[in-house]
Structures are given as C-alpha cells and as structure tokens.
Symmetry: C2
Subunit: 695 residues, 2 copies
C-alpha cells in the first residue's frame, strides 16, 4: 500500500519544523548547560552500540562510560497497596541480584505499602541499600485533577511530580514501574546518563506497540506522541535540569491543554510524558530498547531482544501480566519467577570494596553472632534465636476490622504443611485473624496461589497473613507468634495454635465474655479456652458443649494430650469444666500451657524457645508472674486435629542433645525470671525441682 496524503504530510512537516525551531529557541535558555559531559556523547543520536567491543571494524571506539565503582545509584518507585508491595519486592530482588553499587531507593507509597515495606526492609538488612519513604497521599492533590482510565489509577500519574517530591539536592534518578524485572546490572543503565546531551532531561525507551500511532480501532484516539511514543516503565530523569526548566508548569500546561480535547489519560503518566516530548522533542534521550522490553500483547519487542540476544530489563506492561500472549513468554516468565522465588536472605551479601555504613541493627547482630561458640552443642539453638527473619506483613490484601471495644483476633502461626487447616479455620472462626506463616520465598508464592484458588479464603478480607521467611534449621515458633501478635489490631487476642478448630460459637462467645467480665476496664485476666483432641481425621465437629461431652464419654474425643502429657492442661480442671455454668478461677502450676484470650498488650513470647518444647509454657509463666488471673470459660472449647509428628518433635524425641539444649534454655529462662521478678519468681524454680515426666 502506498502512503496516502504525502503532500499534506510534507506541508505539516514544514510547519512542525518551524514550531520546533521556535520551541527550541524558547526553551534552550532554561536548560542546564553546566558540567558538559567530557566525551562528546551528544554525537550518539540513537542507541549506543550494543557491543562495547565495537566489532564495527575499528579498533578504537569511544568506550561506553560506566559509573565509578561504589557510586551511589538513585532509584525511585511509586508503590501503593498490598499487591504492588509484593511486586516491588520482586523488582528489588532482581535489582539487588545483579547490582554492584550501593543503592538509594526512594519509595513513594501509600500507608499500606509503607507499613509493609518499612517492616520488610528493616528486617531484611541488606548492606549498602538506603531507603527513603515519601507520602503518596500528600502528593495526590497534585495529580487528582487529571481524569485517568489506566488500571494503575491515581498512583500511575505520580511519576510526574517526582522532581518536586524528591529531595531538592537529588540530581538524577532512575524511575521504575513496579512491574519491571532486571536481567542485568542497574549500573549499566545509570551509565547512560553520561550519554545525555546538554538539553536532554528524560531518558526513555521507545514504545514497542502501535498504540500511539492511533487507529487501532474505530475512534481510537491516543494522546499525541513522537512516532510510536515512549514507554515510561523505565525512566532516567535529570531532576536538576527538570526543576530548572520549570517542569511542574510544563507538564501541567500540556496536560490541561490536551484534556480540552481528550476526555482522560489512557496510559496515565505515559500519555502526559509523550505529549510533552511531542512538544519538546529535544528533552528526550532515547535509550536502547533492551532497557525496557515490553511484553504487552502484540508487542514488537521481539525485534529488540532477538537482535541483541540480550535483555536488560523486562517490563510486564500488560494488565494480563504473566498471562500475556508472547511466543517467548515462557522464557521471560522464568526470569521473573527466578526472582519471585529467589531466597531474599541470599541478597544480604556485602558489596566488596565499597565500604558503607551497615544497616540499622546489623552491627549489633554481628557482634552477638561473633560471640557465639561454634563448638557449643547448642550452637544451632543460639544461632536460631539471634536470626533476624525477613518479615512481610499483610502479604495479601487485608481490611482491618472496624474498631470495636470487645473484639478479639485469633492469633496463630503455621508453615506450609498446615495450609490445609486454613479453610476449616475460616469456617469455624468468622472473626479477624492474624496468622504468621513460616515460608521460603517460593513457598510464599504457592501460598498465594492456594488462597487465590480457594473460594473460602479469598472471600475473607479480615484474615491478615504475615510471611516470616525461613532461615535456619529450627522452627522459630515464638518469633512467629510475636509477629502475629504484634499485627493483631483488636483490643483482645485469642492465642491459639493452627491445629485447633474452635467451637463454631467461640468468636461470639468470647466477645460476650470479654464484655461481661469487664476485661476492658483494666482487669488483667487470661480467659482459658479448654482444649480437646480427636484422633480421627474424619470427624463430625460437636455443635455444643453437650455434644462435646457426649463424644468425650463415647471415647471419640479426649482432653488435649491426655495420653502423652496430661500436665500441660490438668490445671484447667476438666471435671469442673464439665459442670461449670460460670467462669471459674484456676491456679498456675508447673508446665501449664492453656490456650488463652488476653488483652493485646500482653507479654510477648520468649523468642529463645525455638523448635519444640516449652515455648507456650514460658509464656504462661510470664502471664502468671505478671499476675494475670486465669479464668476458665465454661462454654468455650477448641479441638485439636491429628497430624503426623513435626520434624522438630521427632528430633526432640530422638536426640539427647536437643533435650539437653532445651533444658539449658529453660534454666536460662528461670535465671532471667528471677532477675526480673525477684523472690516472686521463686515458685517457678521450686516447681521445676518437683519430680516430673518428659519435657
């Protein structure tokens, strides 16, 4: 087909040239002329040669500049909500994997993302990474006037305000969408700043779709753009020059003008960036296409990556994300999955030869670790206690429960082998839950799919899942409990275990009991929920205390651990409970480990207990030492379901060293108790001396 309307096009081109000339004369004065780049990089008009070896026949090509060793690279990312927070972590993992420079991440976040990412980076402790947060909500008014149809919503527009939102002394920044994955060292991208001519302020990769060419369908009217336009998933910004050029006024003027004829942005900030570039084409520095390989449907990206046989950054810029149709998508997905499932702990490695201040807490931790004796038989226990686990709170979307004075959150922890308990638990407990999950990065993704494919689980927004990443050989049970406890948002918590199913009425009954017993008025009490167990994996759950008692009499149910460890629950006094009509007091006794409801500000669990044994016992000792009343609830019950013994309990049973180490931990716990509570703690030591069974 011959191109149509050529004469008209030529006339238009002449007009444009004139306009461009005027535009150029108008703007050039405002741009930054200081610090000219030494090597005449303005000579590169398109992509610099992909091969630094310069196989163009000449033995002497201007070398590609690299950022000096140890130069701090600046990266900005806008991130809001639970799902984007997960995405940004995968992006950061890919960036950290290949990087050899210190990084400063500037995260523009809403409250949810900030809460998640602050905890995550604090516990991640990656050397040579600095994090700054910026409040996206404060920036909203600057962009909320722009109608926007893109799925990223208001946050999609926020890259426009970075020059004013980021610190005024920040001169250059790489801006990334949360849906990009690095396949190379970000320093190579940073080095492209050196190719900017004196006028260029925005480095961008050309769009790899025909969107901005228009006419994709009837009445498809994209925003104006130079040719195919540019994609804003990866941006190099000369903030200093933008500020001096009056960027804020520039983009607002352009957006306002275009919105006179266009109803809204379709691709958020990208439409506005392109409209500006169309007006001021000298502002843009085109970047090699490999720095933003766009995987939307019908993409032209293949031309880019198969010529280069190289990929630097992949951009999942389709609402379909990983389900996008691209004939090589399997390969790209593998690269993405690499980092999705990558053990983030492994990124805690130092940058050699780039001394940087260690992350907060890291020095103290190093000192403590250095004091451990590798020959100590209990070394594994002591190492595990000191381990700082990466924590990703509210891994999945979560709506905090509305504040209610007597509300109670079920608190528990689990690992992968107990996922199948979650649906039943949701059916038995209609209230809020805070669950800590001990997972690898790969398991966290399996967990995500498990929840997404479960009708029961995906319907619940009041269950908060907190992922604690696995590290070390022993299950850090009390650290997990503390994470779940710290994230409970109601005034009361029910400290349960994952293998128990509560009576269907328990949630309502607990709230009524809290109210009736006036716990809210400063009364310090722990409400005991009696525990039972079944040995059958198929079993019909009793709908009332009467039914439970009948099953107990029939031998289908037992009081919890009646056969193996009756001391753990004996003080609950099951005989009395059977007849009780009202809550009754019980006294602490050695090895008592009931399941209790307490105010949220109760003592934390002692993190020294890792693996199997004494982890809950120590917490109940602490409650008693702090003079919590122990009140058994007459209508409350939970039932333990059978499962194979955990690896930890198997090790406890088979290894004398394991038992000796647990004993050492118990001794140290009692020493600390005496130190803290003085003579009042004597009774716990005395109780220890009495003859006793296992544990």
């Amino acid at each position: 087909m011959l191109p149509r309307g050529r004469p008209r096009a030529l006339g238009a081109a002449a007009l444009l040239l004139l306009l461009l000339l005027i535009g150029f004369l108008l703007f050039r004065g405002d741009l930054d002329y200081e610090r000219p780049r030494p090597r005449g990089t303005a000579a590169f008009d398109g992509d610099p040669p992909a091969d630094p070896g310069g196989r163009n026949g000449s033995d002497c090509t201007p070398p590609r500049p690299r950022p000096p060793k140890c130069e701090l690279l600046q990266v900005a990312i806008v991130c809001a909500g639970h799902n984007s927070s997960r995405d940004v972590i995968t992006l950061v993992k890919s960036m950290l994997f290949y990087r050899k420079n210190p990084l400063h991440l500037h995260l523009v976040t809403d409250a949810v993302a900030r809460n998640i990412l602050e905890t995550l980076f604090h516990t991640w402790m990656v050397p040579a990474v600095r994090i700054s947060f910026y409040n996206a909500d404060e920036l909203k008014p600057q962009v909320s006037w722009i109608p926007n149809k893109h799925y990223s919503g208001l946050y999609g527009l926020m890259k426009l305000v970075l020059p004013s939102a980021l610190p005024p002394d920040l001169a250059r920044v790489i801006v990334l969408d949360t849906d990009v994955t690095f396949a190379s060292n970000i320093a190579e991208l940073w080095a492209l700043f050196a190719h900017f001519s004196d006028k260029q302020v925005i480095g961008l990769v050309e769009n790899q779709s025909d969107w901005y060419l228009g006419n994709l369908w009837r009445n498809h009217r994209p925003w104006p753009a130079l040719g195919r336009g540019f994609n804003t998933g990866v941006i190099l910004l000369r903030l200093d020059r933008l500020r001096r050029a009056g960027w804020e006024q520039m983009w607002k003027l352009t957006a306002t003008r275009e919105l006179l004829t266009l109803p809204a942005t379709s691709l958020a900030d990208q439409d506005i960036f392109n409209a500006i570039i169309k007006e001021h084409p000298w502002l843009v520095r085109p970047l090699p296409c490999v720095w933003n390989v766009q995987l939307s449907d019908h993409t032209l990206a293949e031309r880019c990556y198969s010529e280069a046989s190289d990929l630097k950054v992949i951009h999942w810029n389709s609402p379909k994300k990983l389900r996008v149709k691209n004939k090589h998508v399997e390969s790209f997905r593998n690269l993405y999955l690499t980092f999705l499932e990558y053990d983030g702990n492994l990124l805690r490695r130092e940058l050699f030869g780039c001394p940087r201040p260690p992350p907060p807490g890291a020095e103290q931790l190093q000192r403590a670790l250095a004091q451990l004796d590798e020959e100590d038989a209990c070394f594994e226990f002591r190492r595990q206690q000191l381990t700082v686990h990466r924590v990703h709170i509210t891994f999945l979307p979560h709506k905090p429960p509305p504040p209610q004075p007597h509300d109670v959150t079920l608190v528990a922890q689990l690992s992968m082998d107990r996922l199948q308990m979650l649906e039943a638990l949701c059916r038995h407990w209609p209230g809020p839950m805070s669950l800590a999950l001990y997972l690898t990065d790969a398991e966290a993704q399996q967990f995500l799919r498990f929840v997404e494919t479960s009708v029961v689980l995906s319907a619940r927004q009041d269950v908060a899942y907190h992922v604690v990443y696995r590290e070390g050989p022993l299950y850090p049970i009390n650290q997990l409990r503390n994470v779940a406890l710290a994230q409970a948002l109601t005034p009361y918590v029910f400290l349960s275990d994952i293998d128990f199913l509560p009576a269907y009425s328990l949630y309502d009954y607990l709230r009524a009991s809290i109210k009736q017993l006036e716990l809210g008025s400063g009364r310090k009490a722990a409400l005991v929920v009696p525990a039972f167990e079944t040995l059958h994996y198929r079993f019909s759950f009793p709908s009332s205390k009467a039914e439970l008692l009948a099953l107990l009499d029939a031998g289908s149910l037992h009081t919890f651990r009646y056969h193996e460890w009756p001391r753990g629950h004996a003080p609950t006094d099951y005989a009395r409970w059977r007849e009780a009509q009202a809550p009754y007091h019980v006294q602490w006794a050695a090895d008592y480990e009931p399941y209790v409801v307490v105010p949220r500000d109760c003592p934390r669990y002692d993190p020294r207990f890792v693996g199997f044994g004494w982890n809950k016992v120590a917490h109940v000792v602490e409650l008693d030492a702090q003079e919590y009343e122990l009140l058994v609830l007459p209508e409350a019950f939970i039932i333990h379901l059978p499962h194979a013994p955990s690896l930890d309990i198997s090790r406890f049973r088979s290894s004398p060293t394991y038992r000796d180490c647990l004993q050492a931990l118990k001794d140290e716990f009692h020493q600390d108790l005496s130190r803290h509570y003085g003579a009042a703690a004597l009774k716990y030591l005395t109780a220890l001396q009495q003859p006793r069974g296992p544990t």
Copy 2:
C-alpha cells in the same frame, strides 16, 4: 623427616634435564604458529584491564574481544561418584544462568556419574546445551601410575589427558573443577582465548595461596612452580596446539622426572601443570584473577575481588568447602546457595536469536502441549501428565545390593512432609529400598542435610533416593512410582506407600515366600500384603500376627480405610486372612488396591493419574488384565500411620471439577484398556457400571 635418597635423585634430575632439553628442541617447532591473532594481544603480559571502559585516561583502549553471538562454547568437566554429580549440577546451573551462548559440555565420568547425569540432562531438556560423555575408567591407566595424595584421587589427575580424550577436532576447551561457581557469563571467559599469543596454550589464574613458595612448615616441599604457581580449577586449553606440541609426552616426562625426587603429587594435576609451566613458561597465558577466586583457608583472594569489586568465578578449593574460613565466606556462600537451591526448571529457557536444534523429545512435547485446550476444565490435569520432570537418580551415595535371586526392594514415593517417616521405615525394612522424592531444588538440600544428620539414615547405603523435581500444581504420583520402580535393582519389588510401616519380619518373610512359591520360575503372581491402620500417632507396633490380631480385636487397629473406603481392600478378605496358614488366591474386584510384591518387570503405573485418586487402582486393573495371580500372604502385614489429609485429597473433597476430571481420566483409562485387551477388558467396564461409593 628428611627425604631419603637425595644424591641419587639429583643425578636422575640431571639426566632428565638433558632429556627435556632435547625434547624441547624437538617439540618447539610443532607449536601452532598459524592464525596469528590480529590485535597484538601478546602485549598483555598480565591481566588485561578489568574495565573495558578504560578509565586509564585514554579514550582509546583496544576493546576486549567477545565471542561472536551464538558461538558454541566448549566446556570439559571430570566428574565421578554421587557427590561430585551433585556438585557438577550446581556448577552447571550457575553457568546456564548467566550464559547467552550455546554450550557443549564434555563430561568425563565414571559409571555412577554417567548414569546420574545422563538421566538428569535427558529429563532437564535445556535448549542449546549438548552433552557428550567420556568413560573415565578407560582413561585411568594413563594416570594411575602417578602417586597422588590429593582428596580428589585419581580423577583429580584426569585433566592431563583431555587433549587425547576429547575429539581430535576440538580445538579449544574451558576445563572446570566441579567445585567452581560462576557469577558471570562464561562467554567472557571464552573471549580470553583471543588474548593468547601464538605460543600460549594454557590459560590459568595465579594461585592465591603461598603453597608453591614452599616452607609453609618444616620439610614442606611443593612441586616446582613459577612464583606462586597457577591454580587449575579453571583452565583455558588450546587443545589443537597441545596435541601438536606432543603434550602427552611432555607431561609424562615432567611427571616422571619430578617423581624421582618427590614421593607423590599433593595437588593432583595442578602439581604437574605447574612443573611443566616452570619448565616452559611461554606456554601459559595468565588470566585475570577474578576468573578463579580461590577460597581456601589463608587465601590471598581478597586482594583480587575487593580491587575488582567483581567476581567472575568462585572456586571452593578447600577440602572444607563451604565451611572454609574466609571473612567474606558468608557472601560467597550466598552466591553458591543461590544456584544450589535454584529451580533448575527455570533454566529451560530458550536462547533468543540463536536457533539450535531442540533437545531430544522437546519438539514432540511442544506439539503435545500446543494441542492442549487452556479452557478445558481439566487443563491442569492434562498439563501435569505431560510434564517432563527433571530426575536426579541416586541423589545420595548408594551401593546396589549384591545380586540375589529372591531379593525384593521396597518401592515408594514421598514429598517433604513425609521425611519423618524415613527413619522408622529403615528400622522396619532392613532390605533395599528405592524411593522417589518429589522436591524443589531447595528442598533437595534440606533433605540432604536431614539424611546427613540422621544416624539411622546415614548408616544405610542400600536405600536409593531419587529426586524428581517439582513442577506443576498436581502431585505426579504415578510418575514418581515409575521412577522408583525403574531404579529398583532386585528381581522383585514391594510396591508400598510411604505412610506404611512393614512388619519387622516382612523383608525376610517376603524373600522366603518368593522362594517357596517359586515366583522365579516364570510364575506371574502378585503377592498381596494385607494393610491395616492405626489412628494413634503414638503406638506400639505389633511384633507378630497374633499381636496384630489382638490389637485389631481391641479396636486399636483397623483394616486399612475400614471407615472411609472399605472397597479398596475388601477382596483381600481379612476374615480369611485371620485364619490363613498358607497363601490363598483372591479375585480382582472393582476398586481393589492392595499393596503387592511383583517381579521387577511388572507393568508400569499409568502416569495419567496425577493428584489424588485411582492411581493404584488402575495399576491393579493392569496386573489383572495381564493375568497376574493375586495371592494373599498369611503372615505379611503393613500398618498405616495417621497424618493430616494431603492438599490433593482436600482438593478432591472440596472441588467438583477435580472429581469430574478424575472421572474423565478413568473413562479414558478404560477406553485405552478396551483398545489394548479387547473383550477381556469388558469386565472392568461392567464393574464400573455397578453402584458404588465415592471415587
């Protein structure tokens, strides 16, 4: 102790020197002078500049050559035994992760490593990787005359014979120890061949220890070397030139001469390479230190990597491996663990822009996958059936049982959540076992540690563990069973499940029964081992049939699945078994799924059954269709231990689609059965029509 016989040795040395001189004069003419490199790279005497950007003030440095896009790179590795086979896979993963070129791996292996690696690469199906095997045992005579004290043993010397062992048309090869890890693209290493001067034939990195300087302790007499000497963990070999230079005679002469005064090699091939280089220093091309960062104790490697702030290849060249003392070892270990735990499936990605013939079977698989309908409700099932899982047979050291005519191997499969069954199983079954484990790469490492720390498991060399790597959402139960079955080496197999413990006497009893029933003489029979279950997780295992019957009467034991699915085992006829003194025949009936002992050449399991349901039933139908007698053994029994329901059984129970898909699979199974067995298969279809319970 002083070395004895020094005067004689000195005389011999003088003689050898003379011989060598003659040898040198004879051979130098043979060195390869053709094809001079164009860019005068001989000017580089030490490391080429680490920075191709050439920040040495000049804008024009000779660019570092890169191998042409898509050039096939050649790599040789010597590998023997079970443990080295695991190591080599980690090395290969790191190489594949960064590579952008097709690779040809030349693996010099013993029979064990070949068996493992052939299966692994065959099932891995990595595009653009070709594998050739060379029989290390055939090469042994060429090096076995050299006394060697190094922990790598005879295989440590085998790199010396590569020029003659590898194909005569192979001109260049990178030789790697199994204990190296790549942190960069191997093509960059290959590119260093271009720096070789016309005389250079061996590229090596200088040693990063003082070993060859001598005097590390009294009477420390290392082999001769140039200065610190060179490390042979990473070698660039110009095979063409070496062959022409009479390499074989050269190294044998040098080794013979040195062994006149030195009792043995201490560092295997490395001592001999260094002695040769000391004599003919022009043969060596020194490589940049980053290509072989040596992490032995007291290493000087830090000077290398902190200046370069770059690592290309890490070499764990200490017998202590990961436990080596190096202040940065944690960081290096993280890089190693990255690849140790890396999901090898993700390396199945294509090389863009480098068309290569697909690996064997890959095209057929692609066609089958392309025919699947993504909208089909059973798509997940069909996708899972087609999945080719990577298989690592005999993951841990294993000694095949000595051939015995009536021996029987216990065959089972498991995933991570059943590891705790292994010790008990070993106590109950003293005979050979073949177990398939469905694991991720990371879990395989946890499994390894689990076995290593278990006294019971690490004492057993007759248990073969075969790792089948996880991929896809459904448990490929029958594919796992087939892997374990295919690797059983005795004439009979006991097809069990991991949750069962056999009677202590079962192994002996089965062998006696096989002998007594004359199964060896071509009798086609399946011996049924009756199955029971306990619902208690602590339980005292009956030591005889009498005890078992007492427990059954007391209600502590039940026949297997008596409550949920009695049809599965009803044909075993437990009432008759109770009284039986001799084996008795039973007839097949619908849904019968007994645990049986059969000859090793029995039908395979039908791999279409994935996830929960009908996987064993279909196998017993197949046995019946092939007219196996079903004989119940009167003294045999196994007992199932309780566990939480698997995720698959939970999905089966909660998802109607899951049940529908299983029904579809069953229908297709019966269609295939009719096709294969004709009218004889009619009874299975008829049985299907009868009224029945679930499944």
